[in-house]
């Protein structure tokens, strides 16, 4: 087992290396298309989040205002409806020409509480990105910071694309959930 100091130092080194990654993509004569695609996708996803958030807020009003007696269950539902992502574990796959990385992301109250690399098919050992990248994501939480690292090597792109895809699923699940609650309320 790694000591906490070891983990701290590994995280610092890994953050240091990844902080430069963005430069490489700009400087490289030909940016690798798939890594580039990941960046675009991430930006797109970030915008989606905002939109969905608004939608969720509107739904919240519908639930809060009815003159029903507020029960504990009711409060819990309200909290759930405010979330960006539906609680649960979601899988996602990121793929580039060198292989693919599969991840499982567990969300609770919009916090990423678990990140696992569940499968990897890349040229080199998964140990290079596991557990460093899952740990980093757990520590950073902020999806927008992913932009900084997605220009990294293809494995990193694989990982993050996998996470993005998992988060998309969590969002879609939340939208569905909000819609179903609204429907039940009107019924």
């Amino acid at each position: 087992m790694s000591s906490s100091l070891n983990q701290k130092l590994v995280a610092l080194c890994s953050a240091a290396v990844l902080s430069i990654a963005g430069y490489s993509m700009q400087q490289a004569a030909k940016p690798l298309p798939s890594a580039h695609a990941a960046v675009t996708t991430l930006n797109r996803v970030a915008t989606h989040h905002k939109t969905h958030h608004k939608v969720v807020k509107q739904k919240k009003k519908v639930v809060v205002h009815p003159k029903k007696k507020t029960t504990v269950a009711n409060l819990a539902t309200q909290a759930l409806l405010k979330q960006k992502y539906k609680n649960g574990t979601y899988s996602g796959v990121g793929q580039t020409q060198i292989g693919a990385v599969q991840v499982a992301v567990t969300l609770k109250k919009d916090r990423i509480i678990g990140v696992k690399i569940t499968g990897a098919d890349t040229h080199y050992p998964v140990s290079y990105i596991d557990p460093i990248l899952p740990q980093e994501l757990l520590a950073r939480q902020d999806i927008n910071k992913i932009d900084v690292v997605s220009g990294a090597t293809l494995s990193t792109a694989d990982f993050y694309y996998g996470v993005v895809s998992a988060l998309q699923k969590a969002q879609q699940a939340q939208v569905k959930y909000v819609a179903s609650v609204k429907k039940a309320h009107h019924a």
């Binding site: 701290k8 080194c13 290396v17 990654a21 430069y23």
Partner: protein
Amino acid sequence: MLKSQQDTTIERTMLLLGTIVTIKVESKEVSAAVIEQTLDRAFAKMQQVELACSRFDEKSELRRVCNRVGVPTLCSEYLYEPLRFALMMSEITDGVFDPTVGRVMYANGFSEHYLTGTKVHDETANPGDVTYKDVVLDDTQRTILLKRPLTLDLGAVAKGFAVDLAVKELNGFESFWIDAGGDVFVGSHHLDGTPWHVAVRHPVQTDKILCTLQAAQVAICTSGGYERRNRIEPENHHLIHPITGKSPDHVISSTVIAPFAMMADAFSTAAFVLGIEDAKKLLQTADLEGLLVDNELECHRTSGLGRYF
């Protein structure tokens, strides 16, 4: 071992970061042109680190920062990240590892650019008692603030950081290896599947090998006092204890294995300066393996080093 016709092996050597840097890539699947392009990128990154962190180049970011006291100075990640790591090492070692030793090194004659031989003109006033605590970083703004005039020296982290950046570029290849004057990083294995063996040089009989480590996907860094002797005080070499200003004599070679070269580099330097007993404790705390040689040529291994033989 059979070699298929598509096997490509490319090796490139450059003078960088005060040493000779060699990168070797072996691949079955990637063309020579792609490897060459990747090597261009890897070396370019390493050069960026040198441009940012050199204490010997007046135009380096490091020198620019050192010329501004009392004001936060914005800098690139190429300087900020290794400095941040160095300061973390200072905290861990209670100031034994200290990137503000530049002043002391300059005073001891380590003041020539390794390529041009030109002398560094360091006009920084010398308070004499500066420490790492006089350097304040702001992670959100990426600025460096020097509370007092001082000279930063990132010699113990910059080279490792440069190697890590090169590794990042090379990681897609089946087989690669980097040697940057004592900082070695090996990929998973040779193209034919056999493991990498890294030889640690004997600190006194420098044409002999102390031991050979079998390693995969790790950095192995050796700090030794035998390469660069101090010209002004011959008993001192280029690794200097920031508190006493003297080179410690009881460790003459220290080798550390770590997942990142910056980590291996910093820890081998720290271990060297700390001395045998404290160094072993430090490595144990950080869960790292290493090999230390004392001045009576006795080898001291950390408990888990065995798995690298």
